[in-house]
Symmetry: D2
Subunit: 349 residues, 4 copies
Amino acid sequence: MSSVVRAVVWGANGMAGGEVLRILAGHPSIRVEGAVSRSRSGQPVWHTHPHLRGSFPELAFCSPEEGKATGADIAFLALPHGTSAPLIRECLDRGMKVADLSGDVRLRNPADYEQWYGSAPLFPELLDRAVYGLPELYRDKLKGADLASGVGCNASCSILGLYPLARAGLIGDVRIEVRVGSSEAGATPTTGSHHPFRSRALRVYEPFRHRHLAEILQELNLSEEGVTLTMTAVEMIRGVQMIAHVNLSRRVKEAELWKAYRSAYSGEPFVSLCPARPSHLRLPEPKLVAGSNQALTGFTLHEDGTRLVVVTAIDNLMKGAAGSAVQSANLLLGLDETAGLGMLPVYPA
Amino acid sequence: MSSVVRAVVWGANGMAGGEVLRILAGHPSIRVEGAVSRSRSGQPVWHTHPHLRGSFPELAFCSPEEGKATGADIAFLALPHGTSAPLIRECLDRGMKVADLSGDVRLRNPADYEQWYGSAPLFPELLDRAVYGLPELYRDKLKGADLASGVGCNASCSILGLYPLARAGLIGDVRIEVRVGSSEAGATPTTGSHHPFRSRALRVYEPFRHRHLAEILQELNLSEEGVTLTMTAVEMIRGVQMIAHVNLSRRVKEAELWKAYRSAYSGEPFVSLCPARPSHLRLPEPKLVAGSNQALTGFTLHEDGTRLVVVTAIDNLMKGAAGSAVQSANLLLGLDETAGLGMLPVYPA
Amino acid sequence: MSSVVRAVVWGANGMAGGEVLRILAGHPSIRVEGAVSRSRSGQPVWHTHPHLRGSFPELAFCSPEEGKATGADIAFLALPHGTSAPLIRECLDRGMKVADLSGDVRLRNPADYEQWYGSAPLFPELLDRAVYGLPELYRDKLKGADLASGVGCNASCSILGLYPLARAGLIGDVRIEVRVGSSEAGATPTTGSHHPFRSRALRVYEPFRHRHLAEILQELNLSEEGVTLTMTAVEMIRGVQMIAHVNLSRRVKEAELWKAYRSAYSGEPFVSLCPARPSHLRLPEPKLVAGSNQALTGFTLHEDGTRLVVVTAIDNLMKGAAGSAVQSANLLLGLDETAGLGMLPVYPA
Amino acid sequence: MSSVVRAVVWGANGMAGGEVLRILAGHPSIRVEGAVSRSRSGQPVWHTHPHLRGSFPELAFCSPEEGKATGADIAFLALPHGTSAPLIRECLDRGMKVADLSGDVRLRNPADYEQWYGSAPLFPELLDRAVYGLPELYRDKLKGADLASGVGCNASCSILGLYPLARAGLIGDVRIEVRVGSSEAGATPTTGSHHPFRSRALRVYEPFRHRHLAEILQELNLSEEGVTLTMTAVEMIRGVQMIAHVNLSRRVKEAELWKAYRSAYSGEPFVSLCPARPSHLRLPEPKLVAGSNQALTGFTLHEDGTRLVVVTAIDNLMKGAAGSAVQSANLLLGLDETAGLGMLPVYPA
């Protein structure tokens, strides 16, 4: 790798694409060469992302063709599901590395893809080639790879919260609840995102089978019989919070859980275990990580030793999307994994 | 009038139309015969207004043709500006009374209409025939009329706050600021109403010449040289707050202002003057009137006796739209002016 | 009963006490004779509840002694837990009826009280005498009684949502999640209610054993082995939402559930079952009932026939506190059960 | 200066003190040696500022005595007004540099101090010695100084917005309106900050003479006859927005205003002028600068050439307090003025 890596961002006008740009604006060794937006090609980037005017005063969105012509070293693809795969293939063929943010190559098994996304994958070989873009689980594989998949924001939050339990074989069954902010739905206005209806919403949807469940089952190696995933849209812009109601596979003592979590995440730069005390900080909320790439997890064990509540909080645009993508890209590129991702949470906000 | 008045509501799928329905659901002597929505004709009303399911379990939106065929006694027209006037004429021709909520017949002078709305009025004779739908100013005229105009929510808030001063000739010049909630923009999602952008917004727009200024000038009998109107979208769903920075035409003592306000609003069922004390209740906020037809006004005079701050708060969907429309309709129909409008503010909320 | 019932409200300066006053302000046959607040005795009620200035322009808080001297027919006691019981006894001894809002007489079994409240009940005989103040379960008993207990807002929301299942013996085990607005914590400022920390909070607390669980177990006749209750403070002022993850005691078809819910709530004035369609209205949110006494319940059955999600939404200050108290009082007094409680939800807000 | 500067933060448990810590956590050449809090001495800092747990895992609050014993090179004093001055003197006497955040040394004229703060300054010589801590106005003076005053968040926002006009002699009179988030009031809960009352508030207070007006008059060299300052608490945690209604001292063309603003702020690292187009970005809102040290200013001139609206937005905890303090400290210490302050706005949030 040369000392400066050149990047192009696809879907740069969207919510996740904008967050990739925000991160790269402060990245010490990646330079943005192109910001692709078919619909806004030619417009200054800051018309869409006004907070980036100081960082990219001259950058304009370019067309896909111009994006391809940049000859960048890495492509960040923040595109709608279904439209990313063809471009992934093209970028790889051109010798670029790819950090995808879509759902197109998250699932490894083509049959799973077909079940959850409703059609066979266009390029099944990419499913094999992609490494799931969560460095906490796939750090070593990402280092040698050229394609990191996207992670679902709900999925990554849930996986990070439950992985230590799954690894220890402790999950009997689990009811996962995820609370999401409005930025999760992207930048396109809908009736559901219309402020009079969305503000102070507590809208429960997908009470059992959100698409992100597929990733959770895959990464935690669980079967659908024991896992449900329910979503609630809450008043918040950024943030995902998972609360998991776990029935453990066997009675445990609390110390065993601490050990499982500590051993899973020892040394992780962006994953922290909440303290047992003070008690009001034991179960985390997204306010505490807003704007940062951090994930916080806490848990409380019922005195019966078998019922467990696990809570995990992330910023959906960061650790749940653009942050994990840049972290994965750093690994793909042989850079310091934490480069560009040192921003602290903005609190209170 | 028969003992029960039959009403039809046009634009019933919109934000103001829904609020007319909410009021009429509890009105003792008006019965909803039809809820017109061209785009949703045939759908249950409660699909759009779920809070009204208990009140109108069987009511479906009807087509404009069906609306006309109801033979209702009064039509509430909550339609986009420009589309109301032809229907007003048709309803009047059929012998119905009309409470309009649009801007189509608010201005009396066709030249004013053309200046502010950009084209000549389609039916200039209606401008003459309409009585401005603010009973606090036109109670007696409304009683004998068959057409009440709509009131702009920003305009009605500003007019109610400044009318006593204008009547007393005390306004030298005035900078009117209006802060509005998101329901003001209606039920159609836009980028501006998209929750991630609209939540916690403090978006200043129309820094001098919002269209509602025309009504304010007309009703306060002021000229544009001395009046500006600035809008700010704030985090709130319902509510308009006006804060007016008035330079008085002459030095006054506070007692004179109290007298001007008291004499203007003595006996008004829905307009209250805030108390001088306790001081934290002297200048009102929309929270205090949410869900009700009430208007609150308070003021503070600078010790120099010439600079004045006036603050007025209303619920934009109620006193600023549907509430004033029903209040005006009650007068048109010879009913008790306050019928159906007794709901108390929901506080805190 | 004489044609007008005279009421006194204790704890009238608090959040629930204020809501009792808001309801009684529009009640056709109950008149407020006294609003007791030891700390604010002598102050105008509207200094504390500014939205009630028009309703009670002259009413001042009175001392407990003055409250007792009113000779009212009914007392509403909105007092902190532990301080209500002695006053209940005194009021009953004076021949008044009592609608309590505290937790002091909610549990029937003194041993349960001691377990959950940490000390033996002061007046155990009152536990027997009180009827749990949820008319949907105890309508007939309330009619002949002189003491209605308060209901926990989280408990009443949960009980209303799960009662039809419990009655049908369908609950195997259940994880109850409750999401609450900030008004639930009352009118006293704390660090937890401080806006910079409370705004957009998603604070999970009491992950298993909130005190309201005791009521839920009692009223649903369940044992603690199978039930947990977790609370989350969310961004909202009014509102409680319960989401229950139920493992049914046996495989069912959806039709059986509809039947269980319909038969439990047929004819209930304030409890509604959400429709199966449109799907976005199937699981309710508190926005839809704000300011009203309504409870909404919806459910979705997993295709496996054994896993069920039930969601219930109420306004915590209304159906979860003051609304149920007035509804119960209407029954105690032989009045129309719905008197004073006809306010529609204010939506969107 | 040695390569690493050692700092101690007083009032470290407060809102502004916490923000100083957040900035210093990422500062390349300042190290936190002590975080003083009399009331929380001995407690881990992250119990109060949980978002800083990763940055300061071991740091505990220390007592004032321990703070003084650190022998730090610079003290940041985030203390209540009135308590800072004695400590400033003591720190200076010990040879430390001081970046104050209080109001104790903002005003240069002891008579002004007495007028606005109600008592004579304890150490009038400090008023002379302090440089007003706004580098945009006092960069050169700060470089050679040992004491930077605090800046009022409302004042700094207003001064930055109006300074170019004042410098050009263009302000005839001006009505300044400031909208503030809840973090401005600090970390201590009050009835006014209680979430049910503060959420969605639009509370107008200090309609003419907020204390920050004194700083504005001083720095813009204006007299009180022509300036009023009105505050409104709005729904927001971080952020100050000023909207100034200026009557210009003479008729101007828009180009003259652009020139005045550009020449005043050319090369400023943290002050930007909003673009004329697109129009929706012309007048800034605090959302656009949240979490950053940036100030944005925009304006619109009335077609009459004499009436002007100026809008400025900052993050009150950053540019309005801790950010300007660190920026000033960098100058006092001879460091790169922008060190530690490069965080980009978190948007949307």
